[in-house]
Subunit: 134 residues, 4 copies
């Protein structure tokens, strides 16, 4: 996301956390939101694999919270550490839960791709928390 | 976005439009949503450059519609062509308008980055429309 | 939504469309986004009623576009008529399609509630279009 | 929001928290998202009142997190208590911070309306936490 990097670098008054952790966290959470959305849509028609409603719901949870993470981090001029910390924690929890559920469905490639992406996103959010402005 | 590409390819029953145009359109619209968000946040503190409220509002318009484009395209199993066509058209209009406004502020690097990204996103949305399922 | 009405009335420089049509449209689209979300969640466990994946997908489409309508209309200071018109048209199309699909499932109360709400939202969006700033 | 109440009541397998607290929390957070959006848009043109960039940013923070609260609560079939608790906490923090900032601008009616709504939303989120499924 070269344009986003350039935009963040051109910000006239960034909080200190608009660094590489923020860019990685925005990128991984954006991708995670879309991968979870695709996984949920795929699970809807995987009728040979039992009840996937739990997996679909976790995908939807995860997509929602991932989408919001980037929207906060892409506004680097101000950061309310307390709010952001709770949002990043919620994202880590939702991603780990979704990864755990998707990992169980090892016969479906999209669930494995989703589990991997959820773990990358959770890692990126965890790395972001200590980089927030104190 | 390799994981998203893998997830889309693993979808068991995609509509025909889950091809490279969709992947490009998701990627560019995601990046555009974040770049516009960063540009709006930067404009809020660019107090030496006159009234930027029009630029900020166009950035916010553009970020909203860009964010929704990817959410639709990341669900490839079903596509309501009529709805999607209107959404892609709205995104093209918002992106072109935002690019035009940002282009005027050539003293601010973030506005130039944003104008470029808005044009890339508009191009990707225009290329997506003929790729929608008939 | 008395607080929203008061906030819209207190706006120092509204476009002419921040009137009663806008308030109704924001309220009905917000409610429609949530009702569609609830209907999709309910359909996920209605395993005695055949394949509801089409209904779920239409609910998700409708929830997405409904959510964005209010976000645009709640910013009354600026309105890009062309963008907003396409978004409202997309919302009408998605709502009518979702209403039609939900109406077919007359054995499920949540689908009937959803069909009614989608029609109210479509009506409110249609009434909003001529009220947009020229 | 009678239709939403009816949809929630028609859900075939709700978690125990789809009760009156959930309906109130969805309604107040939806209204808060829109009121904050309107307040930010109004602040953009309130040029006689000094630098309102902090108020605008808090409004945008608050609108984002409020919008997601309802999207989670409107899916009553499943609730990941840990994720939801963090999201509700984040919403309370963002609402209280925004209320505090808006309250300072007592010469602007939209800021007072917004402060009141943020407090109502924070109260509703706080009341929701103990109602979550254990």
């Amino acid at each position: 996301m070269d344009a986003l990097r350039a935009a963040l670098e051109a910000h006239p008054d960034p909080a200190s956390s608009a660094g590489p952790e923020a860019l990685t966290c925005i990128y991984e959470s954006a991708q995670c939101a879309y991968v979870c959305t695709t996984c949920a849509d795929a699970c809807l028609v995987e009728t040979d694999h039992g009840d996937l409603s739990r997996c679909i719901r976790m995908n939807l949870d995860c997509a929602e919270i991932c989408a919001i993470v980037g929207r906060f981090l892409a506004r680097p001029g101000h950061q309310d550490r307390e709010t952001l910390e709770r949002i990043l924690e919620a994202c880590v929890i939702a991603c780990r839960a979704c990864a755990g559920e998707c990992r169980r469905h090892d016969e479906m490639e999209h669930c494995q791709v989703c589990a991997d992406q959820c773990e990358r996103c959770a890692d990126a959010c965890e790395a972001m928390i200590p980089a927030l402005v104190p």
